[in-house]
Point group: C2
Chain length 217, copies 2
C-alpha cells in the first residue's frame, strides 16, 4: 500500500507561484512584493509611490495582504486604482500572503490593464520572507524607529530582498539611532542591497525609490 | 493497518508547556511572556522594569527569544541577572518561541533562585500569540510609531494578552497619532485589557506597569 507523502510543503506553494508568474508574463505585469514589520509605513509608502508612477503613465494596482480588516485598502482608495484586499483569515489567519491567496486575488483584476502590481504583504519580518509568490522583486521596508539591529536579527528577510526602504527618516532627529549603522548592518546581511532612506511625510528619497522600481532587470 | 495521526499540532506544544508550568509552580516562579512587533522596545522595557523589581527584593531572569544573534542578551548583561539566549535557528528559524525551546532554556537556570522570569518572545505580532508556553501572563508591547490600527489588524495578539504597554510615548509629539485611538482600538479588540502608556527613555509610566506585574491573580 502506497501512502502519499507531501515531500515539500513548498512544492504546492511554488506551483501556485509559477502559475501566477505565467499570468504576469502573459500580461506584462511587473510585480513587487513589499514586506516589513507591522507599522513600518508600507501603505503610506505606496500612497506616495503610486502617484509618481502614474505621472510616468504607468497603471498600478495593489493586493493588500492582511489577516483581517480592509483598513489598508480604504487608505488607498483616493488613488483610484484597482485594489484587492486579500485577507488570510478565511485561510486560517496565516502570518504571510501565500501564492494561493495571490492567485485568488488575481481573478479580480484586469491584468491586461495593469503595468505595476504591488503585493503589500502582512506586517511580519519573519514568515513572509520564506514564500515566493511569483513576483519580480521583493523589497523590505524598515522603519528607523525599529532600531539598527533588525537586519542582524531577521537575516532571511534582508537576504531575500533586493531593496530596503529605510522609512520614517523625518523622525531621525528624535531617535537615538545612527543611519550609517542601519546601512552597515543591512550590507553585512546582504552586500548587494539597494538602500533608500525615505520619509513619506516630507517626500525625502521617494524619487530615488521610484527610479529603482522603474529600473528593469 | 493503523496509521498514527497527530491530531493536533498543538497537543505536543501544550504538553511541553504543561511541564514548564509544573516546574514554575514547584519553584514559585512567576512568568511573563512579552510579545510585540520587531523593534517596539521589549528589551529596553525589560532593562527599565527589572531594576524596579530588584529594588523590591525580587530576583529576575530572562529568556531572550530570537531567531539568531545574542544582541538582546548582551544588552541585558549590565543587569547582572541570569539570561539565557534561546535562538530558534537550530530549530529551523521558527517565528515564535516554542514551549520546547523554553524547556531547553530552563535547564540553564536555578529556578529556586528566581522570582520573576520574563520570556521575551521573537519580534512578531502574529505567530507568538498562538502558543502557550506555560507562562502566568502574556503582555504585548505596541510602539506608538506603529499606528493606531494595529489592534484591529492583529486581533489575536490583543485578545490573548492581559496587558498592553504603549511604548515610545516620548515620540508622541513628533507623530501624527492619537493616543485615545490606540486605547479605543485595543479595547474594541479586548475589553479587559490593562493599558500602560510608557516611555523607557523618560521613565513615564514604568512604575504603573511594574505595579501590574506585582499584582497577583
Amino acid at each position: 500500500m502506497d501512502i502519499p507523502v507531501i515531500r515539500d510543503v513548498l512544492e504546492e506553494t511554488n506551483a501556485r507561484a509559477a502559475e501566477n508568474r505565467e499570468l504576469f508574463d502573459k500580461h506584462g505585469v511587473f510585480v513587487v512584493n513589499i514586506m516589513s514589520s507591522p507599522g513600518s509605513g508600507k501603505t503610506t509608502l505606496l500612497s506616495k509611490t503610486i502617484p509618481l508612477l502614474q505621472k510616468r503613465g504607468l497603471k498600478c494596482a495593489v493586493i493588500e495582504g492582511d489577516i483581517t480588516s480592509t483598513l489598508d485598502s480604504e487608505r488607498l482608495r483616493p488613488l483610484g486604482i484597482p485594489v484587492v484586499q486579500a485577507n488570510t483569515e478565511p485561510f486560517g489567519g496565516d502570518c504571510h500572503v501565500g501564492s494561493h491567496l495571490v492567485q485568488a486575488a488575481l481573478k479580480h483584476f484586469d491584468l491586461a490593464a495593469i503595468d505595476v502590481l504591488f503585493i503589500e504583504n502582512i506586517g511580519n519580518l519573519v514568515c513572509p520572507a520564506e514564500f515566493y509568490l511569483g513576483e519580480d522583486r521583493k523589497a523590505v521596508v524598515l522603519s528607523i524607529t525599529e532600531g539598527e539591529d533588525k537586519p542582524l536579527k531577521y537575516p532571511l528577510m534582508f537576504r531575500e530582498c533586493k531593496a530596503c526602504v529605510l522609512s520614517k527618516m523625518d523622525l531621525a532627529p528624535h531617535l537615538d539611532v545612527n543611519i550609517e549603522s542601519f546601512k552597515e548592518n543591512i550590507r553585512k546581511t546582504n552586500g548587494n542591497m539597494d538602500i533608500f532612506p525615505v520619509s513619506s511625510k516630507t517626500g525625502e528619497g521617494i524619487e530615488k525609490w521610484v527610479e529603482w522600481l522603474l529600473k528593469k532587470g
